[in-house]
């Protein structure tokens, strides 16, 4: 859009910023198209995941039981927080060996991806344009694929533990007899309820994160448009609104990462309990 020779209109600016860089080279036309992959989401989520885990790994490999450094202490606080939450929700120590690291990964990863929102909205996309990349969205969690991908991951873990704890037969039995009771007439109702429950859990899990981050990103863009008017009012408004929203967003990115982690723990914990 910036190459068109005139300044983009507000709606062009927003649409441009909300367009993913994908393998088709232009905005995706259909709502669902499995032949397309969003390069920017994959790139930033892998990069951020790798960098975050690298730092966690460095802290872990140097961890001593003696006096910890500041960085180790910070990581330990995080691990301790996650371990406490996991201990409170999932009572099987065997499961916690997998689920607690999962919760830590989810929290750190989502927090870092969300934190990309705090970079100026135009910074990375503009740098990308200089290298000939037409579109770029830097917040991987503000892409529905990113958020739903993780919530489906949690769903798969739930199914795994349902089968592991209750056995395949036990789980199928539960699918048809809970929540209303063990009666042949109730089997279809029970099954439909269970399917709706799984669907609702997973979709709401992913959508909650996506919605919050998408909306937050949109507000940053609107604030950037305010500054883009290049007037004194617009500049002052941009500075004030941008600062306020960014500070508020620190809360949102942390909270959303925490909520996603807690819900993952709760859903996996539910997979451990019989109805």
């Amino acid at each position: 859009m910036a190459t068109a020779g005139h300044a983009p209109t507000a709606s062009e600016y927003i649409v441009h910023h909300l367009t993913q860089l994908n393998t088709s080279g232009h905005a995706q036309q259909n709502v669902i198209d499995w032949s397309i992959i969003n390069i920017d989401t994959v790139f930033y989520s892998v990069l951020i995941g790798a960098v975050s885990l690298y730092f966690l790994w460095r802290a872990a490999s140097k961890a001593t039981s003696g006096v910890p450094g500041r960085f180790q202490a910070a990581v330990e606080i995080l691990v301790d927080m996650v371990a406490d939450q996991a201990k409170g929700i999932i009572h099987s120590a065997e499961s916690r060996k997998f689920v607690a690291p999962l919760a830590l990964t989810v929290f750190v990863w989502i927090f870092m991806m969300n934190a990309m929102d705090l970079l100026p909205v135009d910074l990375l996309p503009r740098i990308g344009e200089m290298f000939g990349i037409p579109y770029m969205r830097v917040v991987a969690t503000a892409d529905l694929n990113g958020a739903l991908g993780m919530s489906i991951g949690v769903l798969l873990v739930c199914i795994y533990y349902n089968i592991k704890i209750k056995g395949a037969k036990g789980w199928i039995h539960e699918l048809f007899t809970a929540p209303f009771g063990n009666h042949p007439l109730l089997y279809p109702v029970n099954f439909i309820m269970q399917m709706i429950e799984f669907l609702a859990k997973t979709v709401s899990h992913g959508m909650r994160l996506f919605g919050n981050m998408y909306a937050g990103e949109l507000v940053f863009m609107l604030i950037a448009l305010l500054g883009g008017t290049a007037t004194v009012m617009g500049f002052v408004g941009h500075v004030i609104a941008g600062s306020v929203w960014a500070i508020f967003h620190i809360l949102i990115i942390t909270l959303q990462a925490f909520i996603f982690m807690m819900l993952a723990l709760v859903y996996i914990g539910q997979a451990h309990e019989s109805h």
């Binding site: 872990a60 961890a63 691990v79 371990a83 989810v106 529905l144």
Partner: protein, 157 residues
């Protein structure tokens, strides 16, 4: 907000990251935390034990001090007793010596007086005899009147 294969990619990345954390990040940190917790617990227990030992030692010191004071008191009283006994003995000894000395002196003095008296008596008897002889001249036979003279001498005593 379109769905596409990114979802699958994200799903795969998700599990790779989780497995990495589970293998390489979580265990060392949790191990360090547990070890530190154990160290702290041990340290606290050691501190408690040291405190108890100290209290015990202080009690013992007080006890020893009390005993030492007691025995010192005993030593002092016995020393005082001994000293006073010694003084008493010495005083008694001195009294005895003084008494003996006085007795001896008195005896000697009495003997000396006796001797002087006897000597004086002898002298008087001799003088009296000599006087009587001078008066009586030949009439007195010393041998014949020895009894008389002895009687006289006796009376003079």
């Amino acid at each position: 907000m379109n769905l596409n294969a990114t979802l699958i990619a994200q799903l795969v990345v998700f599990f790779i990251l989780v497995v990495f954390t589970m293998k390489f990040v979580w265990p060392p940190i949790v191990k360090a935390l547990d070890e530190r917790a154990k160290k702290v617990a041990d340290g606290l227990a050691a501190a408690d034990k040291a405190k108890a030992d100290l209290a015990h030692a202080e009690k013992k010191v007080v006890e020893e001090m009390r005993k030492a004071r007691e025995s010192a008191g005993d030593v002092r009283t016995s020393a005082e007793k001994q000293a006073s006994t010694l003084i008493d003995e010495a005083r008694a000894e001195a009294g005895r010596i003084i008494a003996a000395a006085r007795e001896a002196a008195e005896g000697e003095a009495a003997a000396a007086a006796q001797r002087a008296k006897e000597a004086l008596r002898d002298q008087i008897a001799i003088l009296a005899l000599a006087g009587a002889e001078k008066i009586l001249r030949k009439e007195v036979d010393a041998k014949a009147h020895a009894e008389l003279l002895a009687n006289l001498k006796q009376e003079l005593q």
